[in-house]
């Protein structure tokens, strides 16, 4: 049985039922109930990754005086981006436009998704021909991706940033970095459009800039993790260090919550990665097991490396290893075989440990919760290794090279690695520029930091007027 593992890409609007543009005598394909059920489930799983998983993971790592500010930032940013997604975000990311943006009017306020009264629904493509899913399911699934990506950045800027500055930054960065990167990497016309060799060039030209290059990003190594990780580092530089950083003891107030958060992230990530197959099929199953295995590998490699280098295996290390493994396997999930999952997981644990220690010292920024060291470094590790372990000779599935005949192939390790590196490079530069501008604008409008007195006393009392704990 040939495993069908196409390029991780986006979604294409086919057309409104019942006027499907298939051959007149063939019955129009309808969404499979299993696919629909799986994608709805995955969407809810990815929501869980932000609230409460990421909020608890981050919240446990700050001092108790700032606990609520972290929970609040995650909760509200998640909601803000979800709303913006439904207003204009989805339309800009996942409709046909140019190489960088979709068309803002196509799905503005989610118009055109169907008519509930008539029971007619717009359908979108998956990675299999004649296997559509309801577009409205895809809108929700991708909403949770946009929202968690923005929330990830918060880890770099916590314990000192103004709440209003967070919101201003997020609106700008989401619009000008998340949306175009998602469009560039994931938007394509869908497999059903590829009916004839003569149409291929025009169809490819309508896809996103990075998708056209043949870059592999199953669930968001570039779009989510590198995008957010680099933006976080920029924020840490522009915001400056927390008061007392490097001189006073600034330690996590509850690694118990951090462990709970990391575990819930692992759980929710099955929706993130396996859901990115867009179907309940073999690709989703492979992505699921790779996500499971690589994460466990990264827990072990981080833990043992820390034990050897630092003397003790720490709970924070194990939890960080899990997140590093999850991040690194994200672009690879359905794009590599089991051997790839072993290597990517083991590599991510050790490389990200370096990311939060040696590399962090070199960078000299107070990237408070190591968003860059884990998400950008892990994302780059995963994105590059995806290019290697996609190779059929290394147990990988290759990728579909011809969507007319749905024929898989692999351009060679050097060629694919170069494509992956270009995708990483474009993402790093793009998000760095947008993040810099977005933080500068927030600084001009409201200022980035709370006052020193407020920072000393804590953001919970000063920004939100409440305390996390009554003791």
């Amino acid at each position: 049985m040939r495993m069908k593992l196409p390029l991780r890409a986006a979604f294409a609007v086919l057309c409104l039922l019942p006027a499907l543009a298939f051959a007149a005598d063939a019955p129009a394909p309808v969404p499979n109930k299993g696919d629909t059920a799986w994608m709805l489930t995955s969407t809810a799983l990815v929501l869980l990754m932000s609230v409460p998983a990421l909020a608890l993971f981050y919240g446990g790592l700050v001092r108790s005086k700032n606990m609520l500010s972290v929970l609040m930032q995650v909760f509200v940013v998640f909601s803000l981006i979800s709303v913006l997604w439904c207003v204009y975000g989805y339309s800009l990311a996942f409709t046909e436009g140019n190489a960088f943006f979709g068309n803002i009017t196509s799905r503005l306020f989610l118009t055109g998704l169907g008519d509930p009264f008539k029971g007619e629904w717009s359908l979108g493509a998956t990675f299999s021909k004649a296997t559509p899913i309801y577009e409205i399911v895809f809108v929700g699934f991708q909403a949770t991706f946009a929202a968690i990506t923005c929330c990830l950045i918060l880890g770099s800027i916590v314990e000192r940033i103004k709440f209003s500055a967070v919101l201003i930054f997020m609106v700008i960065w989401f619009t000008f970095s998340y949306l175009p990167i998602a469009h560039m990497v994931w938007f394509w016309p869908g497999p059903d459009a590829y009916t004839d060799a003569s149409k291929v060039d025009a169809l490819n030209a309508s896809a996103g800039y990075i998708w056209r290059m043949g870059a592999l990003d199953f669930a968001g190594g570039t779009v989510v993790h590198i995008n957010a990780g680099v933006a976080g580092l920029i924020g840490a530089f522009l915001l400056g260090k927390r008061l007392g950083y490097g001189r006073e003891v600034i330690r996590p107030h509850s690694l118990t919550m951090t462990m709970i958060g990391a575990s819930l992230l692992w759980f929710g990530w099955f929706g993130f990665n396996a859901g990115s197959a867009l179907e309940a099929n073999a690709s989703a199953s492979l992505a699921f097991l790779n996500t499971y295995l690589a994460t466990a590998c990264a827990v072990l490699s981080w833990t043992f490396a820390e034990w050897i280098i630092k003397g003790k295996p720490s709970m924070l290390g194990a939890a960080s290893g899990a997140v590093a493994g999850l991040v690194a396997i994200t672009p690879a999930a359905g794009n590599v075989g089991i051997p790839g999952a072993f290597v990517i997981g083991l590599a991510a644990g050790v490389i990200c440990l370096w990311g939060v220690t040696g590399l962090k010292r070199l960078l000299k920024a107070d990237d408070s919760l190591d968003v860059f060291g884990v998400h950008a470094v892990g994302g780059i590790t995963g994105a590059l290794l995806t290019g290697i372990f996609n190779a059929p000779s290394l147990g990988g599935p290759g990728s579909v090279q011809d969507w007319v005949t749905v024929t898989s192939g692999y351009p060679g390790i050097a060629a694919q690695l170069l494509i992956q590196a270009k995708a990483v490079g474009i993402t790093v530069v793009w998000t760095a520029v947008v993040a810099t501008i977005a933080f500068k604008i927030a600084d001009l409008v409201v200022g980035l930091r709370v006052t020193d007195e407020q920072e000393r006393e804590g953001l919970d009392i000063n920004s939100h007027g409440e305390s996390a704990y009554d003791y």
């Binding site: 330690r251 630092k310 290390g317 960080s320």
Partner: protein
Amino acid sequence: MKLITAIIRPFKLDDVRDALSQAGVTGITVTEVKGYGRQKGHTELYRGAEYVVDFVPKIKLETAVPDARVDVVIDAIVESARTDKVGDGKIFVTPLDHTVRIRTGEIGDDAL
């Protein structure tokens, strides 16, 4: 009257309380405190950040006793709190001017 303040290891609290009961002490006040003396702290490592935590958790125990009972009470604490290792703690004795039992208004030794 004297106020006896003892800084002891947290895990010795039950032993000390039992010994004080045997010595006739009818009431003590206990506070969880942190401090440092000759006992060294420890280092904690959170990813790349290493902190030396100088302050060691201790229990501060206070009891007021008549002058005649001071030596007995001190002996009871010393015997029950001692492990012979650095960090066993200290006992401070301070004079007490006045004591009042709030419920009855009794004063002095009667209030103890």
